[in-house]
């Protein structure tokens, strides 16, 4: 698409920067992986996060976390993995579903209370939620949503919505209005213009927003542990957190769990990125 072919020097420079960034991103994660695979633990004055030797390598931590060899525990782990996936996907979908129309209205319409609403939404992000678990518990109890995954999804989605609205509103503002106007001149209703023209054009931003909502649900444990009442309904972060005790933490198991938990996210991102982040809008905007 772009005519100018990048020079060799420039290519090398770009790759150097990217490799350096990857090294920065990867280095602590490799320590976590080493910790997960080690019998004796991680920290010791070493520069490279490599295992101490073949005899120190073990998969015991992974076996412990996933419950290999213990069908009941293994089954529970599988259920909790499914819970996590379901809750996180549902959070992403709910947050996007709630935020997209609102963001569109805030970008395209003028209405009474718009400025107040925008400001209020930003304000909600500024209040540090010190110990808001108990009030949320009361609200969900009143709504009869306590101990249900749908209640948890609603809470997660609600916390993700303000950011989602800001993000999507920015995206809608960046899309030229003429496209929708042209569609409406051709006889489309406002809703059709929104669904058929603006929405596809904003797809990358929607993807980012969904990923963000997914991640916020994927790693949360305090609310999940507080609002859910049965072990079979728990999400994985809650299970991981239970390796942290008052006096000691089973770091090996925790690290193994952390590695397992991040694999689906990476896979999801790998699969989704081509679809979601490679210039779909360019085509859409050109119409």
């Amino acid at each position: 698409m772009n005519e100018r072919k990048p020079g060799l020097l420039e290519t090398i420079l770009v790759h150097t920067v990217l490799v350096a960034a990857v090294a920065y991103a990867l280095y602590p994660v490799l320590w976590v992986v080493t910790l997960a695979l080690s019998k004796t633990g991680g920290t010791e004055a070493r520069v490279l996060p490599l295992p101490r030797g073949a005899e120190d390598l073990t998969l015991d931590n992974f076996r412990l976390v996933t419950g290999v060899g213990d069908p009941e525990k293994g089954w529970l782990f599988a259920r909790q993995l499914v819970n996590s996936l379901v809750v996180s996907c549902a959070t992403a979908l709910t947050a996007v579903a709630i935020a997209t129309p609102a963001a569109y209205a805030l970008a395209r319409f003028d209405f009474v209370g718009k400025r107040t609403g925008l400001r209020g939404m930003l304000l909600t992000q500024m209040f540090p939620g010190v110990a808001s678990a108990v009030p949320l518990y009361l609200i969900l109890d009143a709504l009869h949503l306590l101990d249900t995954r749908s209640g948890l999804v609603l809470v997660y989605a609600a916390t993700a919505v303000p950011f989602a609205i800001f993000q999507l509103r920015g995206a809608f503002l960046a899309i030229p209005v003429d496209l929708e106007e042209a569609a409406m001149v051709d006889g489309a209703t406002r809703v059709q213009a929104f669904l058929k023209v603006a929405l596809p054009a904003a797809r990358p931003a929607i993807a980012v927003t969904a990923l963000f909502a997914f991640m916020s649900a994927w790693n949360e444990f305090i609310l999940a542990a507080t609002l859910l009442g049965r072990e079979s309904a728990f999400t994985l972060p809650v299970v991981l957190q239970s390796y942290v005790g008052e006096y000691s933490t089973q770091w090996g198991a925790f690290a193994a769990g952390a590695v397992l938990v991040s694999v689906p996210v990476m896979a999801l991102f790998y699969v989704a990125q081509r679809q979601l982040l490679s210039g779909l809008t360019a085509g859409g905007v050109k119409g």
Partner: protein, 741 residues
């Protein structure tokens, strides 16, 4: 092409939706008939043992018992939320030293006939003492936890009798082998030394003061400076050092045994004596079975609590759960049997039982809670050589007394009422003027379609975000705990904004912390945006090889749960064993004691937080870049713009609408990002790297649960950020205002 792809995507989406919906709504609500509910914080062997005990109880009594393992970090808040609402457990297992908090929040009832007088002699006396408070027994004691001395049988021929004897082994053990390791920075571990000298942490107030406390600190410093023990030892480090034969003895609790491999040759002995002073005496905590107020009324629940302490249960918990059980019958029988196969395990438990006989039960009062942080700050200061024991302890006591200062007397509510009234009046006037403005009715009419788009978002945010925050804001006018609030009007605010009557920039004052927080936010956000932008743009280059691989690897920091990576970072900054110092050593740089100076500790926090945060900014940039029409950039190139000019004049302005909200919200989140500070530097040195929100957390959780004070902090933080964003909006001009207003 476009259409069919969209169609497929839509189908996939619908399929996912359907699956999600079935799982979310299908079996979630099928509640079994309510039997007895038991909560516990156990995992692994302890949990397995408990399940067996419960299964036996169910079979014998014909009652259904539902157990739930709740992670330690969420335990108290879950109890506190659930029990008053009648959703809580009937019986719950927890450490006895939390009793003060349980009582405060009305989570427990006396244990009654679950531990009748005739049962008392069946338990170790020290454990019964621990669960008895003001003459009432509050739990059935199950197991005790205290520290003892693990010693390596390859390096030592017999357990050391005195600490000095052990320390003198330095050099004789081989290169790089320490005689002793313990978590010297922790007040819990230091307490054993302190008790040897006849000192105490708590006697109703801060008690770590005077000659005994000073001598204990001198001893601790001597251990570290003489090279007898490594500095800044964390639990994970102890395990590694002991497993790899780098230390002859470590002080730790029964929990360490679970992490050690079976072929490691070690034994456990009670803590050694200090020459000419006395035996080191650790703190003792006792896990007990508590009854909630509802549970105490139910015979089945009381029977379960009693059965948990029985000798059959004790045997299971000792043998499967490796607990140091409180039931004497188990020990009497074990003394008789001496099973050969499990000898080492039995010897280990016995050593801990012996150690517990000499241990000092942890105080129950909630006033003990605020002791830890100042005590640890003093210990660390002395170990670093920053202060004499006397000065450090005097300062710690002053800090404790300041935190525990009684709340101000209830003032007249007049100033508050007037302020709120004025605020409401101003709002009402604004609304009325708006409504009476010409054309308002028409505008409102014209707004109707828009409301259909925003209504559900507004309702969701109001109910699940705004309401809990309002509830928090209201508590800021109260002092004391959540269950026993006392109206104090604006006193909390006055206190914070006047730096509690001390000089404005004194240690831990609001203003000093504010400066640190602003620096923290500016540095972090700048680096997040710069790195995110650079990587986002680099990844968007045409014809880039390995693009997909780079993208996936670069979001790793976001994908791995931050709790574990933050602690990996902390480990990397360790002075003696950290990878960063090892890296510096290969470059010929002297090792840095990262957490002993503000500048280096702050750097460590920033390095971690930038690492955690840049992938998010990168993804936002990547998303935003794809919405920039390619032809615009091409046009710029045709016009002869250089790359840099094209970026600055075309790309950047086009990125602005999507990037700006991310930057504004990123600043707000960084301002309130307490996790990293808490997990990496923990406020070290001496609380100087704490940011405002960590201060709020300390008031809520580490300082006698003063939620009102914490809420006042939260409201002030909120106000500051609100002002900041308005100012930023003005400065940033039109578009910034659009995004921020």
């Amino acid at each position: 092409m476009e259409r069919s792809r969209a169609g497929r995507a839509l189908h996939a989406l619908l399929a996912v939706l359907a699956i999600v919906a079935t799982i979310l709504f299908a079996p979630a609500c099928s509640e079994p008939p309510r039997g007895v509910v038991l909560w516990h914080p156990y995992r692994g062997g302890e949990e397995a043992a408990l399940k067996k005990v419960v299964a036996r109880f169910e079979a014998e009594r014909g009652v259904k018992v539902t157990t739930l393992a709740v992670p330690y970090e969420a335990y108290l808040s879950k109890l506190e939320a659930a029990i008053p609402r009648g959703n809580g457990p009937d019986v719950f297992i927890g450490p006895h030293n939390r009793l003060g908090e349980y009582l405060l929040h009305k989570l427990v009832a006396p244990v009654g006939d679950a531990l009748p007088d005739e049962d008392v002699p069946a338990y170790e006396p020290v454990t019964v003492d621990a669960v008895t408070h003001e003459g009432v027994r509050w739990a059935v004691p199950l197991a005790s936890k205290c520290v003892a001395l693990y010693w390596d049988t390859r390096l030592l021929s017999e357990p050391p009798r005195t600490l000095e004897e052990l320390a003198a082994k330095k050099g004789a053990l081989g290169a790089g082998v320490w005689p002793l390791a313990y978590e010297s920075h922790s007040a819990y571990y230091h307490a054993a030394l302190l008790h040897a000298y006849g000192g105490a942490l708590f006697d109703g107030g801060f008690a770590m003061i005077g000659p005994a406390a000073e001598r204990s600190l001198e001893k601790a410093r001597e251990l570290v400076t003489s090279g007898a023990a490594p500095d800044e030892a964390s639990g994970d480090l102890l395990k590694t050092l002991f497993s790899t034969g780098k230390v002859a003895a470590v002080i730790s609790g029964p929990w360490l045994a679970a992490d050690l491999s079976d072929d490691l040759p070690y034994a456990v002995a009670p803590l050694p004596e200090i020459e000419g002073v006395g035996r080191m005496r650790p703190f003792l905590t006792v896990d007990g079975a508590f009854l909630s107020p509802d549970g105490a009324k139910r015979e089945d629940a009381r029977a379960l609590a009693r059965a948990l302490g029985s000798s059959e249960s004790a045997r299971e918990r000792a043998e499967t759960g490796k607990q140091v059980v409180a039931t004497r019958a188990y020990w009497a029988r074990a003394d008789g049997e001496r099973p050969a196969a499990d000898d080492r395990h039995a010897a280990l438990l016995r050593a801990f039982r012996d150690a517990s006989a000499d241990a000092i039960p942890m105080p129950v009062s909630t006033a003990m809670n605020p002791v830890w942080v100042p005590a640890e700050q003093a210990i660390r200061k002395v170990l670093r050589g920053d202060a004499t024991p006397k000065d450090a302890l005097a300062e710690a006591k002053a800090r404790y007394d300041d935190v525990m200062r009684p709340p101000p007397p209830s003032p007249s509510p007049a100033p508050l009422v007037i302020m709120i009234g004025l605020g409401l009046l101003a709002a009402a006037v604004a609304i009325v003027r708006r409504v009476r403005a010409p054309g308002f009715r028409r505008e409102l009419e014209a707004s109707k379609p828009a409301y259909k788009y925003v209504a559900h978002a507004a309702i969701t945010i109001f109910v699940l975000v705004v309401l809990p925050l309002l509830a928090g804001a209201v508590t800021s006018f109260f002092a004391g705990t959540r269950d026993d609030p006392r109206f104090v009007g604006l006193a909390n605010y006055v206190d914070i904004l006047t730096a509690r009557g001390k000089p404005l920039l004194s240690h831990g004052s609001f203003y000093l912390t504010l400066l640190v927080t602003v620096a923290w936010t500016v540095v972090n956000v700048t680096l997040h945006v710069a790195i995110g932008l650079a990587l986002g743009v680099a990844l968007a280059r045409p014809m880039l090889r390995l693009r997909a691989v780079y993208r996936v690897l670069l979001i790793l920091p976001w994908a791995v749960p931050s709790y574990v990576t933050a602690l990996a970072w902390k480990g990397m900054f360790h002075r003696q064993f950290g990878a960063i110092n090892a890296l510096l050593a290969t470059l010929g740089v002297e090792p840095i004691s990262w957490f002993s100076k503000f500048s280096t500790a702050f750097t460590a926090n920033v390095a971690t937080n930038v690492w955690l945060g840049f992938p998010f900014m990168m993804v936002v940039v990547m998303g935003a870049l794809t919405s920039i029409p390619k032809d615009v950039l091409e046009a710029a190139e045709v016009d002869g713009a250089t790359r840099w000019q094209a970026f600055r004049l075309v790309t950047l302005p086009l990125l602005k609408p999507t990037l700006l909200p991310a930057v504004v919200l990123g600043s707000v989140w960084t301002f309130n990002m307490f996790n990293v500070v808490f997990l990496v530097s923990g406020g070290e040195p001496d609380g100087t790297t704490d940011i405002l929100v960590s201060e709020a957390y300390r008031w809520a959780f580490a300082r006698n649960s003063q939620f009102g004070y914490a809420a006042a902090y939260a409201v002030i933080i909120f106000g500051l950020l609100a002002i900041m964003s308005r100012v930023l909006g003005r400065v940033g001009g039109g578009e910034a205002k659009e995004a921020a207003s």
